[in-house]
């Protein structure tokens, strides 16, 4: 009995060696099957998407472009929030549920800063100045709050089982929600816009000036963040910490400081997103953070969490899809907006958990 088992094992071994000599190794059967599932799923989904878009484009071409632009505008805000999720997840593998609520607080902060503390309520030089100073102030505000949250709660739980920081993050989200509720009031509030508004027409298509402003401010922020992470010493420290905390400590990197810096960056981005949202939409409410935060997180997952450009691409894509779904003749409509976004999240997580631009990592023991 034993003998045959050993012989069988031997023969199997020889066979395996021969196969690997003649054929290049591309993956275990399981991995190959997974690849096939991913590929066919991607093809089916992208085919369906393009058919849907094409039908709508033929039916109402102007409307299509119009809603696509407004969708992309929201997408930029999602992208800015998603960066915060992706940065934090990249470095300490925590889904920071409180991030969406930080964005909400930033939006409320900007409203109060511009309207009450500076007293600007229309688009004149004073308003523009208020906007510019608010951009700086709200980014500092977001950064400080996020660093505080990290310092008070998450840092103490860094080595705890993963359930603990996740539940703490949910609790933090409730706490910020409460602050928002007390600050903003329980009903949505309207605020004046201080950046130049108006419309530009390109042919039949109307583009709001605010949209242009959003891209003029948002895109440089994204580029600056990318530069910071890829080209500076601090960015290098961040990337090193995200790969291996112990090894980075040995290399002389202050891990605590680096993680705090990452939270500050994410918070600053959420702050900027809060201001841009408040100026483009004009209303704030205390429960805004939860929904937008979830959508932004979906964007981060869609692009590949931990990947900066993934978050941007994911945000723009989700914004586009949501815009198209809400505004096109053949679509589910606004009532199903949330469901569509979450359905995308689930499909992505089932078929390609690593995201569009991410690489799948195998767990090492």
């Amino acid at each position: 009995m034993q003998c045959t088992a050993v012989l069988g094992g031997d023969r199997g071994g020889v066979k395996l060696a021969k196969v690997s000599e003649s054929k290049k190794f591309t993956g275990t059967p399981g991995q190959l099957r997974r690849q096939r599932i991913e590929q066919s799923g991607a093809i089916v989904i992208s085919l369906l998407m393009s058919v849907w878009m094409l039908v709508n484009l033929v039916k109402a071409p102007e409307q299509f472009v119009q809603v696509a632009i407004s969708g992309l505008r929201n997408g930029l805000i999602y992208a800015l929030i998603a960066l915060g999720y992706t940065l934090v997840y990249g470095i300490i593998e925590l889904i920071n549920f409180a991030h969406g609520d930080l964005f909400m607080l930033s939006a409320v902060f900007s409203s109060f800063f511009i309207t009450y503390w500076i007293g600007a309520d229309q688009s004149n030089p004073k308003g523009w100045l208020a906007f510019a100073s608010c951009l700086v102030a709200v980014m500092i505000f977001g950064a400080v709050v996020n660093v505080l949250i990290e310092r008070l709660a998450y840092r103490r739980l860094r080595n705890a089982p993963r359930l603990a920081p996740l539940i703490t993050a949910v609790g933090m989200s409730f706490l910020l929600n409460f602050i928002g509720l007390k600050w903003n009031g329980s009903t949505p509030r309207q605020w004046p816009t201080v950046i130049p508004s108006g419309d530009i027409y390109i042919g039949e298509i109307r583009i709001s000036l605010i949209t242009l402003w959003l891209f003029l401010i948002g895109l440089p922020l994204l580029l600056a963040l990318n530069y910071l992470v890829t080209n500076t010493k601090q960015g290098k420290a961040m990337r090193a910490t995200s790969q291996d905390k112990d090894a980075s400590t040995l290399m002389g990197i202050n891990v605590n400081k680096t993680i705090a810096f990452t939270f500050a960056l994410g918070g600053a981005m959420a702050g900027a997103a809060g201001l841009l949202y408040q100026q483009s939409i004009g209303t704030t409410s205390y429960n805004l953070g939860f929904q937008l935060g979830l959508i932004a997180f979906t964007s981060a997952v869609l692009g590949g969490i931990g990947n900066l450009w993934g978050a941007v691409v994911g945000g723009l894509l989700i914004g586009l899809i949501q815009g198209l779904n809400d505004g096109l003749p053949y679509a589910f409509g606004q009532a199903w907006s949330q469901s569509v976004v979450f359905a995308i999240l689930i499909i992505i997580l089932v078929f390609r958990p690593a995201g569009l631009l991410g690489k799948s990592v195998t767990e090492k023991v």
Binding site: A153, A160, L163, I167, L294, A335, F342
Partner: protein
């Protein structure tokens, strides 16, 4: 099996909790059914009970306890974070709405229902609807779990959250779901059949008798939780919770074990959903929101993940605070000091702080489970281990 766990001990420990539980349950039932309507009761006690723990509040907390026990199986036993548990509540609730009301007025199906046979709509006996609700939820639990349980823990949390958002939205927009009305939308389904218990039918205001029924359902859930934990499946859940990889190496079938945790947890959600529908005498779509999922999670965390009695305590405290305690306290406070503070708006603060402080200072909950306590403080043990090792050298 019979040799490894002495059967006598099992029976004895079962007898112990059943006796204690029945005594407390009976006392509660006698208080609410016979003492409250009794004319000889001093007015002070009557007022105090109505202010601090009215009959409807205690029934509602029992429904929350049933659902928290279900979530405890998923989160506490199997260690899978579920942030969309409210979906099962909603499905269970709509099972009651569909099968125990006049919602499908164009049909006329009556199966041991508590209404006259000629009444329109589907009327199935409450006890059967309980089972139907439970099983429908279990099927949904498996449907949701099957494609997603391969994922890492926090991704799984997100997928459950996604389902927890989608399913209530389906019911919310359900007035025109591809041309069919499946939920009456925001209007909700008003009026659910009473509970037949042989001699009489329990309507929405028979609080005392319904208390007894909810106590019975809770006991069933406690029984299921305790028995399952001791059995093969429960031990497999605990193994997965503690180390998934090690468990799979030891031959625990991951998928099947996790799916069964999902199914049993969802079953309890269904029971809770049907019970809640009879409690409020209707199903209302806007009640099923994300806050409820977090609320249930906070109950499990506060009481002690994995420990049935801890979860019951946590669920009781939090549902009481949220439903009645905070407003009653606020009223008293405002009367005493002449202030006008809206205490109900502090629930967010309260739940946020409960989650944060429990995780920071007492991760294992009020009534901890010994095994989980060890696991949750693994980081500290590692540090002690490391420092003692370095001390040796």
């Amino acid at each position: 099996m019979a040799k490894t766990i002495a059967p006598n001990n099992v029976a004895k420990s079962n007898r112990k909790w059943i006796t204690g539980y029945s005594i407390i349950g009976l006392l509660l039932f006698i208080t609410y059914q016979f003492l409250l309507p009794w004319e000889g009761l001093p007015l002070g006690i009557y007022d105090a009970i109505y202010r601090w723990m009215p009959p409807s509040a205690i029934n509602e907390s029992l429904v929350y306890i049933i659902m928290a026990l279900g979530l405890n199986i998923v989160v506490g036993y199997a260690g899978l974070l579920d942030l969309g548990y409210v979906a099962f509540w909603a499905i269970g609730g709509y099972c009651a709405g569909w099968f125990m009301s006049e919602f499908f007025y164009f049909l006329n199906i009556n199966f041991l229902g508590s209404v006259p046979a000629e009444a329109p709509g589907i009327h199935i006996n409450f006890w059967m609807v309980l089972l139907i609700g439970g099983f429908v939820c279990a099927v949904f639990g498996i449907l949701i779990g099957a494609p997603t349980l391969r994922l890492k823990s926090d991704y799984l949390a997100l997928v459950t959250l996604g389902f927890g958002e989608i399913i209530p939205q389906v019911f919310f927009n359900g007035e025109n779901f591809f041309g069919y009305n499946i939920s009456n939308g925001t209007k909700g389904i008003v009026g659910v059949d009473s509970i037949p218990v042989g001699v009489k039918n329990l309507g929405p205001f028979d609080f005392g008798w319904k208390l007894l029924i909810f106590l019975l359902l809770t006991a069933v859930m406690v029984f299921i939780s305790l028995r399952l934990r001791r059995g093969r499946l429960g031990r497999a859940w605990l193994a997965i919770r503690e180390d998934e990889l090690a468990a799979s190496m030891m031959g625990v079938p991951l998928m099947r074990t996790k799916l069964s945790a999902y199914a049993v947890g969802a079953f309890a959600g269904g029971l809770g959903g049907v019970a809640f529908a009879t409690h409020v005498n209707g199903v209302y779509a806007e009640r099923f929101n994300f806050t409820i999922s977090i609320f249930l999670l906070a109950m499990v965390v506060l009481g002690g993940m994995g420990n049935v009695w801890g979860v019951i305590l946590g669920a009781f405290i939090l549902s009481w605070v949220n439903g009645n305690g905070l407003t009653a306290f606020g009223q008293l406070y405002n009367e005493q000091f002449g202030t006008e503070i809206d205490f109900a708006s502090f629930t967010f603060l309260l739940f946020g702080l409960v989650l944060i402080f429990m995780m920071l200072f007492k991760r294992e909950g009020l009534l901890p489970e010994s095994r989980l306590k060890l696991m949750l403080h693994e980081d500290e043990l590692d540090q002690i281990d490391a420092s003692s090792k370095s001390g040796d050298k």
